[in-house]
């Protein structure tokens, strides 16, 4: 059977022709290239370089940005692409999120004209890979206290410090690094050959194995003055990037959930126990019904948020709710699907366990589940509870 996404509420009828075409393009690619090769990539712990090339050729990198080689498509179209990529693997969607939302977006919105012209076309085509360095070994949910710093030395800035958990770091040509200059958080563009910069890969992951995760190390790393992002200061810089990437995740999680649901449904219909397909048992049907329900809600949430993104009427809290909800439901669906698959569910013959492990990362990065709870809590009560005097 060819893969068909879940569409219980006829989302299809609410999409434009272009949105459907872009979605189908990504779906066909994932079906042809990712699905048959993802397990091997995970076993090898690599992000296949052909995928970088293909994503660039398809034009999905930075596709919601305007100009400089970017397509300027709707955020809904971008979301649909994230959904399809993550249906293949969260690592593929991560690559696209980091490139488009976390590396290209800040150059596009906060960079100088020269910076845009130099970097964006090559990043849109996939020729150059970007990464986003915010998290540090000691500062995750609390990046405002970061210690990486930049010093103005006349002709150059000199960076010192370290970033950790940086997706694409080792394979990146361009790193967007957030560091404090005179105590204020600023964005810097670091190139892979800059002196004093290195990006060793982190190994031993049980999750997002087909995605490169790295440290970024700056030891008196010297970069020219024109590499600072001129148009943003403070946490607003990284946070606006994160809002974009989180938006993509809320669609991506729907894709991972659909993959698990699809597999669970097929399996339940073909697995016979006690003389019946297990799909004939009420307990199993209950699980499938729950999955359908959660996926459908997640889709409607994502679509509604996407339309707001396109109209410019979204709020960060709405994004927090959608990211948190959709990753949470996807993870729960992965676990339930694993249960339905019985012992087979632990095999890499099925996508389930991989999605489940991946989603654990997705739950944590781009603001942990609970950080989003705190964002909503502050919104509801007007009281921030991120910090407290002990």
């Amino acid at each position: 059977m060819t893969y068909e996404g879940v569409d219980f509420y006829d989302i299809e009828s609410e999409l434009t022709d272009e949105e459907k075409m872009v979605r189908d393009m990504a779906r066909d690619w994932v079906e042809a290239e990712v699905v048959p090769n993802i397990e091997q990539a995970c076993r090898d712990g690599v992000f296949p370089d052909e995928w970088r090339v293909a994503l660039g050729e398809m034009g999905v990198l930075g596709m919601a940005l305007d100009g400089y080689g970017c397509a300027g498509m709707s955020y809904v179209a971008y979301g649909l692409v994230c959904q399809e990529l993550e249906r293949g693997d969260s690592g593929v969607r991560s690559f696209a999120s980091v490139q488009g939302s976390l590396a290209m977006y800040p150059i596009h919105d906060f960079g100088s004209e020269e910076q845009k012209q130099k970097y964006l076309p090559k990043m849109a085509s996939g020729e150059w890979v970007g990464c986003f360095g915010l998290t540090e070994p000691d500062y995750g949910s609390n990046p405002g206290d970061m210690i990486t710093k930049a010093v103005d030395e006349g002709d150059d800035y000199v960076l010192n410090g370290a970033k950790m958990w940086i997706t694409n770091g080792t394979i990146a040509d361009v790193a967007i690094v957030w560091a404090k200059l005179d105590g204020v958080i600023r964005g810097f563009i670091v190139e892979k050959d800059d002196p004093g910069f290195s990006a060793p890969e982190m190994t031993g992951k049980h999750s997002l194995r087909a995605s490169v995760t790295s440290e970024l190390v700056f030891q008196d790393c010297k970069i020219p003055k024109d590499r600072i992002l001129p148009h943003v200061e403070g946490l607003k810089g990284p946070f606006s990037c994160l809002n974009n990437a989180r938006y993509g995740i809320c669609w991506g999680a729907v894709g991972a959930a659909q993959s698990c649901f699809h597999s669970a449904k097929e399996y339940a219909l073909s697995r016979i126990q006690f003389g019946n397909p297990i799909a004939a048992f009420q307990l199993v049907q209950n699980k499938l019904a729950w999955m359908l329900r959660e996926i459908t809600k997640g889709q409607l949430l994502a679509l509604s948020l996407g339309r707001k993104k396109d109209a410019g009427t979204w709020t960060p809290e709405q994004i927090s709710l959608a990211k948190m909800n959709n990753v949470d439901m996807a993870l729960e669906i992965a676990r339930m699907a694993r249960d339905i698959h019985g012992a087979n569910g632990i095999l890499d013959e099925y996508p389930i366990m991989r999605h489940m492990a991946n989603l654990e990362s997705v739950k944590t990065y781009e603001g942990t589940h609970d950080i989003h709870n705190l964002i909503l809590g502050r919104h509801i009560t007007g009281i921030q509870s991120f910090t407290r005097e002990l």
Partner: protein, 307 residues
């Protein structure tokens, strides 16, 4: 009603389907003329019972295949209210053109035909059939091996007519076809082997059968996993390829659910397995309880007789 039948020829003689065309046309109770493109098979056609007249059409254009030229030549000599040809590629090409020349409709791949002109042909690759009637004249091509052949014993007159058409296609180069193995996903017939084949070398027997009927060879996962000579690209099933051929022949395959997941939508399934309890028999249209060692040589021989 006058019917003209365009003979299907092969290797300078008549293709057996021609007698089937005559058989089908006879049921319409009309006078039958058979025309033989390039003159091949004229004598044989005279011997088919029910044929009234045979025209051997000879002309320069018949040296290579150019549907346009052939249709022009044949249409010039063919009378007939109804023209009937066979459905393989060349027949479809010529008949489409004859219909277009006459400004009438063509219905291809007909599987049922009765007087009054009631016509049935498959649509959606056989997922449905369409019944049609036609006002006025038309051109039909008939599916091979669907209509009973007319018996021999005919005594029709053979006349030869010289008629050519305007040739616009020239062959720049003719060459042997590389014997590429069909991929299972492209094949209309698949013969797959499982662990019951005993040894990878025994897949040779499956390839021999495949060659006879233009099939692709597939395999179960047990075969692919056990023997490295059997490539993963042959694997049919949940973690292999999903196939949907007209005919799937499973040899020494037990029929595990994961295998069935990849082939159960095949139109017809034949199972050859020595274990009468093997689950593959539950999905087989024709199950043969037998070892492959005994069954395959007979299968090969019987299939060779067909073509």
């Amino acid at each position: 009603m006058d019917i003209t039948i365009i003979a299907e020829t092969q290797d300078g003689g008549l293709h057996p389907v021609t007698a089937q065309l005559v058989g089908a046309a006879s049921s319409l109770g009309a006078s039958l003329t058979v025309i033989c493109p390039g003159g091949a098979g004229g004598e044989e056609a005279c011997g088919i019972s029910g044929v009234g007249k045979v025209l051997a059409v000879t002309g320069d254009c018949f040296a290579t295949f150019d549907g346009g030229a052939w249709a022009e030549a044949l249409d010039a000599v063919a009378g007939g209210d109804l023209v009937i040809g066979a459905a393989p590629t060349s027949g479809r090409d010529i008949c489409s053109r004859i219909a277009a020349r006459r400004g009438v409709s063509i219905i291809q791949d007909v599987i049922n035909l009765s007087p009054g002109l009631n016509i049935t042909h498959p649509i959606y690759s056989g997922k449905a059939n369409q019944d049609l009637t036609v006002t006025g004249n038309c051109v039909l091509t008939l599916r091979a091996n669907t209509f009973p052949p007319a018996p021999s014993g005919g005594t029709a007159q053979l006349s030869t007519v010289q008629q050519s058409g305007d040739v616009r296609l020239a062959v720049a180069e003719a060459f042997a076809r590389a014997s590429e193995r069909l991929d299972v996903t492209d094949a209309d017939i698949i013969i797959s082997g499982g662990r019951g084949m005993g040894h990878p070398d025994n897949f040779r027997h499956l390839y021999e059968v495949a060659d006879v009927i233009g099939a692709a060879v597939g395999a179960s996962r047990a075969a692919v996993d056990t023997w490295e000579e059997i490539p993963h690209s042959l694997q049919v099933g949940q973690t292999g390829k999903t196939v949907n051929p007209s005919l799937y022949i499973a040899v020494g395959i037990s029929g595990a659910i994961q295998h069935l997941a990849g082939m159960r939508t095949s139109k017809y399934i034949v199972a050859i397995n020595k274990d009468p309890e093997a689950p593959i028999f539950k999905v087989a249209d024709y199950g043969i309880v037998c070892t492959w060692e005994e069954a395959i040589p007979v299968l090969k021989e019987e299939l060779s007789k067909l073509t």
